[in-house]
Subunit: 278 residues, 2 copies
Amino acid sequence: MRLTLAVVGVGLLGGSIALAARQRRVAGRIVGCDRSEGVLERAAACQMLDMATTDLALAVAEADLVVLCLPVDAIVEGAFRAAAHCRPGALITDVGSTKGGLVRALDGRLPAGVAFVGSHPLAGSEKSGPEHARADLFENRLVVVTPGAKTPPADVARVMTFWHALGASVVPMPAEEHDRALAMTSHLPHVVASALAGVLPPEWQFLTATGFRDTTRVAAGGLEMWRAIFLANREPLLHVLGRFRARLEEYTAALAAGDAEALARLWLEGKQSRDALG
Amino acid sequence: MRLTLAVVGVGLLGGSIALAARQRRVAGRIVGCDRSEGVLERAAACQMLDMATTDLALAVAEADLVVLCLPVDAIVEGAFRAAAHCRPGALITDVGSTKGGLVRALDGRLPAGVAFVGSHPLAGSEKSGPEHARADLFENRLVVVTPGAKTPPADVARVMTFWHALGASVVPMPAEEHDRALAMTSHLPHVVASALAGVLPPEWQFLTATGFRDTTRVAAGGLEMWRAIFLANREPLLHVLGRFRARLEEYTAALAAGDAEALARLWLEGKQSRDALG
């Protein structure tokens, strides 16, 4: 496959898609689009694009595949705007961390001949910007693809083939199931890390070691991105937050009672779960 | 300084002390003591000891410095047992993660001529055992030393000099202040990581990425070690758990209300705190 690829939003993920598609010869031509001239200049400096433009219509006009690397609250609008300028047969996907709202808004609703299939690569970094992009970002990572009820199977296959070609494993999953799972596996850890970092008094910063730093690493992520994800996935996130808070209450009760047996059960269940992740 | 050094408990920390003391020529002779023959054999295989024994009296008889690398609930008894066999002028320290109870039990209470000064190196790993020991474990790490009211300044200086010689920065601090701070910077992250790992349903393990893994890494630590720390530092830990749970309630309320402004404030406070750690 030698696609004409349009990457809309050339940050860490968009830049990594461009680098990986070039290095693996997945794309014959790569067009980068961003509203920021500065981002496009930094991306161009990394030699990842054949063309860079702030003009979305121009960017997608010849594309076989358009990848929207936008905040989750900007993807629906971005998809409609891109689709209006795509040629028939073009396929649009995204890298958003929540999927249910997108599939409800877009599945079967774009102009005839243009299709949308949602994607979520479980890859990223607390860093941002094209200068942190890496050609190997998707290698051995998982990409979840979330077809809707009206998505033609051939389009699902095209999107899965694309991510495979960038080195990822790909699994299809209903969007609502994806959102429930990711609330637990990704969005909850971000809330937890942020809350933990938020209660650290500055005068004790020098007494933090790798434990505190690792547990809070993802709290350094960008505000706009994470707030949009939290708001887009409110109900599933509130559900898992409730489960987590109940678990903390169990820990608190065991500690308050000095209950060594209960502490052992809680710790070992957590350890067993963490050990299983390898 | 070319000490005769006795390391009691030859796990990850004890083994790293032995390796560092040898490599940096801090000790002329290093004796390792452990109740487990198997641990001593694994330590001996790493060439970190001049003598290995299960006999505490033999291990400490000639020592200038005894470092107790025992679980926090075994240090007081270990110090009294070791002190009974030490020669006059010997100094005992430890590597325990909680300090108030030790200082209250030991400061000025050992046989004449033998002193105790508590230490806590902020270094470690979720791994354990002498085979994971590293000579550079203390380089550029912080060691907190917690003198009691009756500790002679010269003994504090000797312990600080020892840790400096292993490559660490050293700061003296009252034991109670240490325990309040470490409840926040170390013990709370362990409870949080454990609770988060504990609520992950096994069927969603394959949907975890680096965010979940980093946030829960320390949940893989050993049960005996962490349960003893939690119980030894119950009151300060319950206090910071309360602050963390209040913060989660704020997050929950902001999410439930869809309050973008409150979410921004919570996220940015956490991000600012985390960014300050570098």
